[in-house]
């Protein structure tokens, strides 16, 4: 699944570790989600959406 995580992170000048720390996951996990290797669970998707104050659909895009 495609997502806008990398763009949203860059807009806030966060590196992957910053985002990982904010979400309570590993940097490797953030990288896997950003590159589309891993689709997060619904609870983690909601945590990401809450962090960016956006809806899930505004971050994760339908293929």
């Amino acid at each position: 699944m495609k997502n806008r995580l990398k763009v949203l992170r860059a807009e806030r000048n966060w590196n992957q570790q910053d985002l990982a720390d904010a979400l309570g996951v590993s940097r490797q996990s953030v990288n896997a989600i950003e590159t589309g290797k891993y689709d997060p669970s619904l609870p983690l998707a909601f945590r990401i959406a809450d962090l960016f104050a956006l809806s899930i659909e505004a971050i994760f895009l339908r293929n």
């Binding site: 309570g24 996951v25 490797q28 996990s29 896997a32 290797k37 669970s41």
Partner: protein, 134 residues
């Protein structure tokens, strides 16, 4: 320096458990072999008890690995650990199955042994394979 102060708590707990069980394994194995082969005839029940005691640290390692899968609070890391465990199990079953038939067809004189140790070794082999490009 504290043990892995930057490591996630679940990895710290796992590492401590593995160190404890592997240390116990080495000590019990050395003690057990010294006791069993000390030139004294032991009762069957004693040797059965010794066998179970020797197996306990390896069983403890199994518990530690599966406990890690429960305790890891990072879902992607849990996926990687689950893949690693399944790959190690698959490799071990493959080795043991081939070994078994080598024994059936009298190529080797003994059937599969040390399966727990093989699984632990393949768990180590599986880690970089699963995490390569992960």
């Amino acid at each position: 320096m504290r043990l892995g102060s930057k490591l996630p708590p679940y990895i710290r707990r796992y590492t401590i458990r593995i160190i404890i069980f592997m240390s116990a394994y080495v000590l019990i194995l050395i003690g057990g072999l010294t006791f069993a082969h000390g030139g004294v005839e032991h009762a069957q029940a004693t040797l059965i008890g010794l066998s179970i005691i020797s197996a306990l640290p390896i069983i403890g390692v199994f518990w530690a690995v599966f406990r890690l899968l429960v305790e890891v609070d990072d879902e992607y890391q849990r996926l990687l650990f689950a893949k690693q465990t399944l790959l190690a199990t698959g490799i071990t079953l493959t080795i043991v199955t081939i070994w078994q038939f080598l024994n059936v067809y009298d190529v080797v004189t003994t059937g599969p042994q040390w399966m727990g140790v093989i699984w632990l070794a393949t768990l180590g082999v599986a880690a970089p394979i699963v995490r390569w490009k992960a």
